[in-house]
């Protein structure tokens, strides 16, 4: 693929099949540096599969992925150095303290001890976990665990942050905090991709939105672009989303007038 210095992620013709089901079916999209991209779609649309392939957790059956001009399929280690992946369930070691957890994650990414200690302290203070640094994660609430995982994701200062349903189970304060933190990362020049079923979050936070279904991209653009292309000016993202994928009973994109209009 040709090099584009403004791009953080370029996905082309990505394909993944589970048995007879095509989970990702020729998906192509770009995410720019300093951009928050919301990947939306109904359950089983292929969002998580796509992000897991980009993260190097799943092998693609076909297609190409560039992460900051690094071919992620041929050199996954180099790509992984720039990526942080947060699944929807906070994956954490209950028997480690949050400090030990960050030390471990920093070790995995090969961060030197001094830098790791400085970043761990900064992150824990930022996330309000500094006083809990020597507490085992088993004593944490879900929100605290989510923050701990977020700290782990940021300790190697990723340039591409991918989050699967990052706000699930968080209270209002923690949710606001995570949103602010993601926005800050974007302002610093990182690219953030998130999946969410809370469409208001995507509506408020995302610079661009991509809607996929059956592993294919139906439409993408800013909220205004989506509204205009779907013929739903002034309507909410939820209305746009539902008009595209909501009541068609699983019809193919070519059968949906809203999608045809959007195109």
């Amino acid at each position: 693929m040709t090099s584009d210095p403004t791009l953080a992620l370029r996905v082309r013709d990505l394909a993944k099949t589970y048995g007879d089901k095509r989970a990702v079916d020729g998906l192509s999209f770009d995410v720019r540096r300093g951009e928050l991209y919301a990947l939306l779609g109904p359950n089983g649309a292929g969002k998580t599969t796509t992000l897991r392939i980009v993260s190097g957790l799943l092998d693609a059956d076909g297609g190409a992925i560039d992460v900051f001009d690094v071919d992620a399929l041929t050199d996954p280690i180099a790509a992984k150095r720039m990526i942080a992946w947060l699944p929807d369930e906070p994956m954490i070691y209950d028997k480690l303290t949050v400090w030990e957890y960050l030390e471990f994650v920093a070790g995995l990414w090969g961060i030197d001890a001094k830098t790791a200690a400085t970043r761990a302290e900064d992150l824990l203070k930022l996330l309000g976990l500094w006083d809990n640094r020597n507490d085992r994660c088993e004593s944490f609430s879900r929100g605290m665990k989510q923050k701990a995982v977020l700290a782990g994701a940021m300790i190697h200062e990723p340039k591409l942050l991918m989050l699967d349903e990052p706000l699930t189970g968080l209270d209002a304060a923690a949710s606001r905090f995570v949103k602010d933190l993601l926005r800050r990362k974007v302002d610093e020049g990182a690219a953030v991709i998130l999946t969410t079923h809370i469409l208001e979050v995507a509506e408020r936070m995302a610079d661009r939105i991509g809607i996929i279904k059956d592993g294919r991209l139906l439409i993408e653009g800013s909220l205004a672009e989506l509204q205009a292309r779907a013929g739903a000016a002034g309507q909410s993202l939820e209305d746009v989303f539902l008009s595209l994928i909501g009541d068609d009973g699983g019809a193919a994109p070519g059968d949906n007038p809203a999608i045809e209009a959007a195109k």
Binding site: S55, D94, K95, G107, L108, G110, A117, S139
Partner: protein, 516 residues
């Protein structure tokens, strides 16, 4: 829509659900585990048929209890039943602990309109049924053919065995309930694990101690043993022989035995159920420990990819009390070895027994390495985190295996060094055996991994994958046999089990893409 027998909501219907879950637990795939199990059972059935077709007609019909030789038979059956009971109680304790600490669907069941008594009696019955298959599989075929070729009364062994499983479960319920009342939820889990191990090993250790310490008995002739037994003047009609009589065709004893076991089970369930809900609630909150104040220490951060993985795995192993108690259990079974060492220090004439240390150490190293590698490689609470890290998977696996083998090395180094000083030849075989055991365990653990979170590993540890456990056990035994033949001066004979161990290990290979 229900595929289960019985009226929906009835005890029978619920028991069907429990047994369905029991059958599907773990990751035993129909293509591997069931076929292997079915094959072994079919083979055992055929072998038993051939044996009992020949000897069955010569075995007199029961009941026993009228002649002097019957006392010896009944006493032997009692010892065997005692051994089975101790292992059953051990398994039942683990089953009860699991019921309390791993809630799973209990919240759903207890919030339904079913009576808690029904739920708990069914779950307890499932524990009892769950401890049966091993013994039913081992004893069932011989008992069936004995009933065919000698007398149908011999069949009483099977209902008596089933009753024993229910009594063992009742005792397990009573023991765990008593522990909960006396030492609290947190200690109960660990202590019950240890108690389970000790209960299971108690009779085995007693027999081993008896064998090792009583020289005169081990070298006694058959006539001397019979004479020794006759001096005990055991009455075949004694009450304490009722279980043995029940298992050997005495219908009246069988009825008494089934009634007594049923009573123990019902009392156990009754006392357990009275406080179950509050006990389970206490257990569910016990892991949360908050400090009274803020801990202001700032630990030094250390770097390095492999060292980070090893540090993390060792911390998790060390902080898992259930795991530590299970490893302690494995060590308990090797206590007889210590008795051998003690004898060795005081008695230079026990060289043949000292040679047995080499295969025994191989067995120990293999069992420990197998358990720890299975846990470090397969139990991972954050698989996405480690998989998304910029390190090759081989490096991650090496770190995990290294972390598992370090404790094994730490445990084995002292006895091996002592052995090296006292008997260098034996030590050489032992060291070779331990290294081979560690290597084969590492390969099997890696190739046959079955990834899951550490949180549900308490359950999975017991289920495991049948193929990997069977393979690991056979490799452990064949490696020990290799070392045994070698150390007793038959190196050419040692080649056979050695090749078998290597072949089985290689047969367990799975390409990376197919691993769990």
């Amino acid at each position: 829509m229900s595929t289960l027998a019985g009226r929906p909501g009835s005890a029978l219907w619920l028991l069907g659900n429990e047994l369905r879950l029991y059958w599907r637990r773990g990751r035993m795939g129909p293509k591997s585990g069931v076929i292997i199990l079915g094959g072994i059972l079919a083979l055992w059935l055929v072998m038993s048929f051939l044996i009992f077709r020949a000897v069955g007609p010569r075995i007199p019909p029961p009941p026993l209890g009228h002649e002097s030789l019957d006392a010896a038979v009944l006493a032997s059956v009692t010892v065997a039943a005692g051994f089975i009971a101790s292992v059953m109680i051990s398994q039942a304790i683990l089953g009860v602990v699991e019921a309390i600490y791993t809630r799973n669907d209990l919240d759903l069941l207890l919030s339904s309109p079913l009576s808690p008594w029904t739920v708990l009696i069914v779950r307890s019955s499932a524990i009892a049924v769950g401890v049966l298959p091993l013994y039913a599989g081992l004893l069932g075929p011989p008992v069936i053919w004995l009933s065919v070729f000698s007398s149908p009364l011999w069949f009483s062994a099977l209902p008596a065995l089933a009753a024993l499983a229910f009594a063992a479960t009742g005792l397990g319920l009573l023991i765990v309930t008593a522990l909960f009342r006396t030492i609290g939820p947190k200690r109960t889990r660990i202590f019950a694990q240890i108690l389970s191990a000790l209960t299971g090993a108690a009779l085995f250790l007693s027999v081993q101690y008896f064998n090792i310490t009583s020289h005169q008995t081990s070298s006694a002739t058959r006539e001397q043993a019979v004479h020794w037994f006759a001096r005990l003047h055991i009455d075949p009609g004694a009450i304490w022989l009722t279980p043995a009589r029940a298992m050997t065709g005495d219908v009246a004893a069988l009825l008494v035995w089934v009634a007594a076991c049923g009573a123990v089970f019902v009392v156990g369930v009754f006392l357990f159920s009275r406080r179950f809900v509050s006990d389970a609630a206490a257990a569910s909150t016990m892991g949360v420990r908050r400090r009274a104040g803020i801990d202001t220490r700032v630990a030094r951060v250390r770097a390095g990819v492999t060292r980070s993985i090893v540090r993390k795995e060792l911390r998790l192993l060390w902080r898992d009390p259930v795991l530590l108690s299970q490893i302690g259990l494995q060590l308990v079974y090797y206590v007889p070895l210590l008795l051998v060492v003690v004898q060795f220090n005081h008695d230079g004439a026990t060289q043949p027994i000292v040679r047995a240390l080499a295969p025994a150490f191989t067995l120990l190293a293999s069992a420990l390495a197998g358990s720890l590698i299975w846990i470090t490689v397969s139990a991972e609470d954050a698989p996405d985190l480690v998989a998304s890290a910029p390190i090759p998977p081989e490096k991650l696996e090496r770190g995990k295996i290294l972390a598992a083998l370090l404790p094994v090395a730490a445990l084995m180094v002292v006895p091996l060094v002592v052995l090296l000083i006292e008997a260098p030849g034996v030590a050489a075989w032992a060291i070779g055996g331990c290294i081979a055991a560690a290597a084969s365990s590492a390969l099997i653990g890696l190739w046959r991994r079955s990834q899951g979170s550490r949180r549900d590993f308490f359950r999975r540890r017991r289920a495991g994958t049948l193929v990997s456990r069977l393979g690991q056990t056979i490799v452990t035994l064949t490696l020990s046999a290799t070392v045994g033949f070698g150390v007793y001066g038959y190196p050419w004979l040692a080649i056979i089990p050695g090749i078998m161990a290597a072949a089985i290990t290689i047969a367990l290979y799975k390409p990376r893409a197919e691993r769990g």
